[in-house]
């Protein structure tokens, strides 16, 4: 993987550190006001979305608006607010709620379990095969480096199923469900949290979410029980499809690189930065689009600087792109449809065994 000299890697690290330093100096009131505004919009959407769903008995269009507002609330809560707060991007605010240690989101995945796995495993070992379980989620074969198995034939359908049930998939994946529920353990693994704690966090959080969306709010809506239940289901579905799609566009587009464990042993900070840039891909779009993706549209910048407030990624992107060009590092970006097209292509292409490829990856 090392196409640059060690000196160049050090220079790369220095330049990117400078970019980060400059933006951190500007972080302050503006960022605090921004995240609070997002939280107000989220609250407003959720409250009026739930009211509007019940008003569906007046006219069906209320139901449609209700679903839309509730889906918007859930997307903002998970992406622009939850994901970024849980990364510690706003911990400096010292706010009791806008804090990576206390934040809980509107998602069946327990936020602290997610934070533990995602921030550490995925962000430290990004796209290292065998270390970053997020690469293919243990379900998909997205690179020739993995041996083809017959189950890969229907991985496009597995993908669609995962997208529909995305929050459940994430909840299962982030608590390392295979290990916790089915006892598939690797030797020499060390865990801070016991399997039992992980399981109870999973049951606790998911039962609360089910209670809210499929029991409590439908029940208090009385005769509107079924429409409200369906409305909540639809809003969750929209959120699932959206988050799944955006997240797949961040790491599984055509040009995204993968890495071998042995190549990343003892890597320098510059090499880590380098891997983050090659392991991620960006999406272009208008401002509202960036907000709805939680600024994961700037996945490259997010992976370089996971803990600066997300709206700042837009600001640093030109610098990052310039530095990438200077060192001849690919900067993978494109429109949503173009990038998403290559994701689908990647999933389908690797459904089939590679021509002339030995059964075992080298």
């Amino acid at each position: 993987m090392h196409t640059l000299s060690n000196e160049q890697f050090d220079q790369l690290a220095q330049e990117l550190d400078e970019v980060k330093g400059r933006v951190l100096q500007r972080v302050g009131q503006q960022d605090a006001d921004y995240i609070r505004r997002m939280i107000r919009i989220q609250r407003f959407s959720e409250i009026f979305g739930r009211i509007s769903l019940v008003l569906g008995f007046l006219h069906w269009s209320f139901w449609i608006v209700g679903v839309g507002l509730l889906a918007l609330a859930k997307i903002l809560d998970n992406m622009e607010i939850g994901h970024n707060v849980l990364h510690g991007q706003y911990d400096w605010m010292n706010d009791p709620y806008i804090n990576s240690n206390t934040f809980e989101w509107d998602n069946v995945c327990d936020s602290q379990s997610w934070k533990r796995t995602h921030n550490f495993e995925h962000h430290t070992y990004t796209n290292i095969l065998g270390k970053d379980r997020d690469f293919g989620y243990g379900i998909f074969r997205l690179t020739n480096e993995y041996r083809w198995k017959p189950k890969n034939i229907w991985q496009f359908f597995s993908y669609m199923t995962l997208s529909i049930l995305f929050e459940w998939g994430v909840a299962f994946h982030e608590l390392a469900g295979r290990r916790v529920f089915f006892g598939k353990k690797k030797e020499g693994e060390k865990h801070f949290v016991s399997d039992q704690e992980l399981k109870s966090a999973f049951y606790r959080k998911s039962s609360r979410q089910v209670f809210k969306d499929y029991i409590f709010f439908p029940l208090i809506s009385g005769p509107m029980f079924i429409p409200v239940l369906l409305g909540n289901l639809t809003a969750n579905l929209i959120r699932n499809l959206w988050t799944s799609t955006i997240i797949f566009c961040g790491h599984f587009t055509e040009g995204v690189h993968v890495f071998k464990e042995e190549d990343c042993a003892n890597e320098s900070r510059g090499q880590w930065y380098y891997r983050q840039m090659l392991g991620s891909s960006n999406l272009q779009g208008p401002k509202w689009f960036h907000i709805l993706t939680g600024h994961l549209s700037c996945q490259i910048e997010h992976h370089l600087f996971p803990d600066i407030p997300a709206p700042r990624y837009i600001e640093v992107a030109p610098d990052v792109q310039r530095i990438a060009a200077k060192y001849g590092i690919e900067y993978n970006t494109g429109s949503f449809w173009k990038q998403y097209g290559t994701v689908l292509k990647r999933i389908i292409r690797h459904s089939f065994p590679d021509r002339g490829q030995p059964a075992m990856a080298s």
Partner: protein, 371 residues
């Protein structure tokens, strides 16, 4: 019964809005219309901002109606938002409980610290009519109503809680002798103190200029104390407030003169430690890192460059952590006090409570962590 009810409410609230209190979910919306509203703690409106001397400011606040009031001598935790960050510091109340009953306001008197983040900001950063957050009144440094004479010894801005106590004693019609020994280079609240002195014949105050009489010189203090508590009086209670070294020294002098320890009440005031350690000096002095939950303490020798995470691990603790590089925030931990340096940015925090990332923080001076 009430416990299970509370648990059920909490479960319901958490299930419905991911907050332990439903109000916390609505707070961001409500506060944009009613900035004085809050779910936890209390809010207070700023009624006045004034200057007592070159570097001492007074804030007059009107806490919301749910605030429970205070006893003379107590302090509050004041939380202000500076450039987006909520910062909390303790400040003593200098006004009397009677004033609070009459006007609903309390006054905090604050010395601006040279290298502080919060105190120098207050006078310019806060606006009349704006809001701050505050805690209930706390602190054990309150006047004992036991009918014995009282001697107060204050230094500098340490007069703050004592002024409140003296005003309260006047309001309560205290009949026993009350003396004040006030050290300082500039004396705050001169006119208020004189008014109190002339209001009651059993009150007498001495202003000692530290430039003339020296700084807690043993002989001067002893002579004054003898003059203040002559043999014919009942044995008085002593209340001391000022910098740490002054309290330690006066306490020793009192003990040496045969005052029993239960008669001595004191409160450390201001920043307990000098703030003049330069960034480059970090690591040149011996520092103590204390872990409040495990009751462990580690001494970090000069030149030791370990991070707080490594220090904790060296002490046999196993804090949750991840990347060890400042990326994942899994090791974020509440620092209760002391300054730390971020090894990535070189930035040195101030001494207040806040979250720090253990894996990229080194202690600059004595640090206490909630671990």
């Amino acid at each position: 019964m009430s416990l299970s009810l509370r648990k059920t409410t909490e479960w319901m609230s958490f299930a419905l809005c991911n907050h332990k209190q439903v109000g916390a979910f609505f707070e961001p919306l409500i506060q944009s219309y009613l900035p004085g509203w809050t779910v936890n703690g209390f809010r207070a409106q700023i009624k006045d901002i004034g200057r007592e001397s070159g570097s001492v400011v007074s804030l007059t606040l009107r806490p919301d109606q749910s605030w429970q009031g205070f006893q003379a001598g107590q302090y509050i935790n004041l939380t202000v938002e500076i450039n987006g960050a909520k910062l909390t510091r303790c400040f003593s109340i200098s006004s009397s409980p009677e004033t609070y009953r009459m006007t609903g306001t309390v006054r905090l008197t604050i010395r601006e610290q040279d290298q502080g983040v919060v105190t120098p900001w207050l006078a310019t950063g806060l606006k009349k009519g704006g809001y701050v957050s505050l805690s209930a009144a706390c602190g054990e440094f309150v006047v004992q109503r036991n009918g014995v004479p009282k001697v107060f010894i204050a230094a500098g801005v340490g007069i703050t809680p004592i002024l409140s106590m003296l005003s309260d004693l006047v309001d309560q019609g205290e009949s026993k002798p009350v003396k004040l020994l006030y050290y300082g280079s500039d004396h705050l609240f001169r006119s208020e103190l004189s008014a109190l002195e002339s209001a009651k014949s059993n009150f007498s105050f001495d202003f000692l200029n530290t430039r003339e009489s020296g700084y807690f010189d043993r002989e001067t203090v002893q002579r004054l104390l003898e003059q203040y508590a002559p043999e014919q009086f009942e044995k008085p209670d002593y209340y001391i407030c000022g910098p740490g070294e002054m309290i330690t020294s006066v306490e020793q002098i009192l003990k040496d003169s045969g005052v029993s320890p239960e008669r001595i009440h004191f409160e450390f005031f201001g920043v307990p430690r000098a703030l003049d350690v330069q960034v480059s000096e970090s690591g040149q002095a011996s520092r103590a890192v204390a872990f409040s939950q495990t009751q462990a303490e580690v001494s970090v020798e000069p030149g030791d460059r370990r991070t707080l995470l490594e220090i904790a691990e060296g002490a046999g603790l196993n804090p949750v952590h991840g990347c060890r590089a400042g990326v994942c925030h899994q090791c974020s931990c509440r620092k209760l006090g002391g300054r730390v340096q971020n090894i990535l940015t070189g930035q040195v925090s101030d001494g207040g409570a806040e979250l720090v990332q253990l894996c990229i923080s080194q202690p600059v001076d004595d640090v206490e962590l909630a671990l």
